[in-house]
């Protein structure tokens, strides 16, 4: 990254802790510093307990960090809903709104006139491949289609930055792969800066310019991996050894944490 170029999104020593049950604070995130350039695609991986989702919620200012700062274009983020859109894990669509009504949701909140909002929503529904489904209710769509609506809703407010919290986790493997390709196409067409959390290592490598590997309890940056795979990428590259090398390097970075939480869970079950 060009050091003279101001980063789009900067996390500066972000830490977060919850008041613990025993009186000792539970530290979930520790000293996370990260600079993300405009238009960059960064993915975050880590075992359970690495605070991935908490980190995204802090970046969106849904919760304030215990210490540290989040800056967009050099300015501190004060409240949610500005230049950032959040795409959630489950589809958080309003079941009483039709597809079009869901896509205009963020615009409605910002007081955009109905016809303008609908025009913009249609544009992004078209971009995610859902033209013709405007009058459907979410419960009439498949999981993959609902996540497309979720994405269109996030894009319709025309944010600079998209935060995505395991958006494809609930989809079946084939749909997930198609959605990854779709997301890369949309990213290329819109030029958004994307911060994407996932627990799937191949997804992290496939999508990203850089992958951030978090350690667990407390979550801190273990390593940042530059993914040197040319774009456009298609599904075939997942079969290459070059790609698999990245995946296994990531696995080694987080393996100890994953095994520890696995042991903790099996112990809890016993």
């Amino acid at each position: 990254m060009d050091p003279n170029n101001q980063s789009k999104l900067r996390l500066s020593r972000v830490s977060h802790q919850y008041p613990g049950a025993s009186g000792e604070p539970l530290v979930v995130l520790k000293d996370i510093s990260l600079d993300i350039a405009n238009g960059e695609f960064v993915t975050i991986v880590g075992g359970s307990g690495s605070g991935k989702t908490t980190l995204l919620r802090i970046v969106d200012r849904l919760i304030p960090p215990s210490s540290g700062q989040v800056l967009i274009d050099g300015k501190v983020v004060e409240r949610p809903g500005g230049q950032i859109s959040f795409v959630f894990q489950q589809d958080c669509l309003m079941p009483w709104r039709r597809v079009l009504g869901n896509a205009t949701y963020g615009l409605d909140l910002r007081g955009v006139a109905k016809s303008d909002a609908q025009e913009r929503a249609r544009k992004y529904l078209d971009l995610v491949g859902l033209s013709g489904f405007e009058r459907y209710y979410p419960h009439q769509l498949s999981g993959g289609m609902r996540q497309r609506v979720n994405l269109a809703r996030a894009l319709a407010v025309e944010p600079d930055i998209l935060l995505m919290d395991e958006p494809f986790a609930a989809l079946d493997a084939q749909t997930r792969e198609l959605m990854q390709i779709e997301l890369l196409r949309i990213w290329k067409q819109t030029g958004k800066t994307i911060l994407f959390v996932t627990h799937q290592l191949d997804e992290a490598v496939f999508l990203a310019d850089r992958v951030v590997a978090l350690s667990a309890r407390p979550g801190s940056i273990r390593e940042v991996l530059d993914i040197d795979i040319p774009r456009p990428r298609d599904i075939e590259i997942k079969r290459t050894t070059h790609f698999q090398d990245y995946v296994s390097r990531l696995w080694h970075l987080i393996e100890a944490d994953v095994r520890r939480s696995f042991r903790a869970e099996t112990a809890a079950e016993a």
Partner: protein
């Protein structure tokens, strides 16, 4: 080859409709025959034809309208104000837990006390007439609406609220665009319970103090063994309840289409 139903088979919906029709026609016939040939005593039973003749006659003299007006106006005022205030109060206690702790013992006490025991107090306080009726109907209908509105708000998906906030929604916008639409089916379910309780309130209120009304009509005809008139009152209450409840059920499907399927 095309797969189709075997000839002569009926669809599930048609079969259901047919069963309902057979059931209704069957009961009507049995009732009429029972009244005409088995219990030939109008002091304890009445065939349907006598009941409907009585209603027709009462409609002609204007007596029916007098009762309907007395009960109907009290029910509409009591029920509607219970729904409006119940929704408001339900939202309030769901959003302000401290207030709900403060109010809870009194709400529970009032809800738990049988209305038939409370009704005389209202009649003494508010007199014989529409005010005591409205109060009794209001209290009967208020609790189910309040409880369900609060339940709706409390069970609203946290993810939806967070999604709304992430788009920069203010507290008021979260309320208007998430909490209220999510709670609507709960509120309507509460309104359905409130119909049954409110109509029971009409009858209870009119035992203790009334000069007219469907409940009044039922009590007076019971005392004078006027079975056709008594059944007329019962049919009016049952018919009102059925119409209101099925309308609300339909409304629930309109505001919450995702719950229907």
């Amino acid at each position: 080859m095309q797969i189709s139903e075997p000839p002569g088979a009926l669809s599930v919906a048609t079969r259901k409709l047919a069963s309902v029709a057979v059931s209704i026609v069957g009961v009507v016939i049995v009732w009429e025959l029972l009244g005409r040939y088995v219990i030939q005593n109008d002091l304890i039973f009445a065939p349907l034809s006598h009941i409907f003749a009585k209603m027709y006659q009462m409609a002609g003299t204007g007596e029916l309208w007098r009762h309907l007006k007395a009960s109907g106006s009290a029910f509409i005022i009591g029920y509607m104000s219970a729904v409006i205030m119940g929704v408001g109060f339900g939202l309030l206690i769901a959003l302000r837990p401290r207030l709900s702790f403060f109010m809870e013992p009194w709400l529970i006490a009032l809800y738990a006390t049988p209305m038939i025991a409370l009704a005389p107090i209202f009649v003494v306080l508010l007199g014989i007439g529409i005010y005591s009726k409205i109060a009794i109907i209001f209290i009967e209908a208020f609790f189910p609406v309040t409880a369900n509105a609060a339940l709706g708000v409390r069970s609203t998906s946290k993810e939806l609220i967070e999604a709304s906030r992430s788009f920069g929604a203010t507290e008021g916008q979260v309320m208007r665009t998430v909490l209220i639409p999510y709670s609507l089916p709960f509120i309507i379910a509460g309104m359905r319970i409130a119909v049954a309780r409110g109509l029971a309130g009409v009858v209870i209120a009119e035992i203790f103090g009334s000069v007219a009304g469907v409940g009044n009509m039922i009590w007076f005809s019971a005392e004078s063994y006027d079975m056709p008139k008594l059944f007329s009152g019962v049919f009016i209450l049952a018919g009102t309840s059925i119409v209101l409840m099925s309308t609300l059920a339909r409304l629930e499907r309109v505001v919450a289409p995702w719950r229907a399927s």
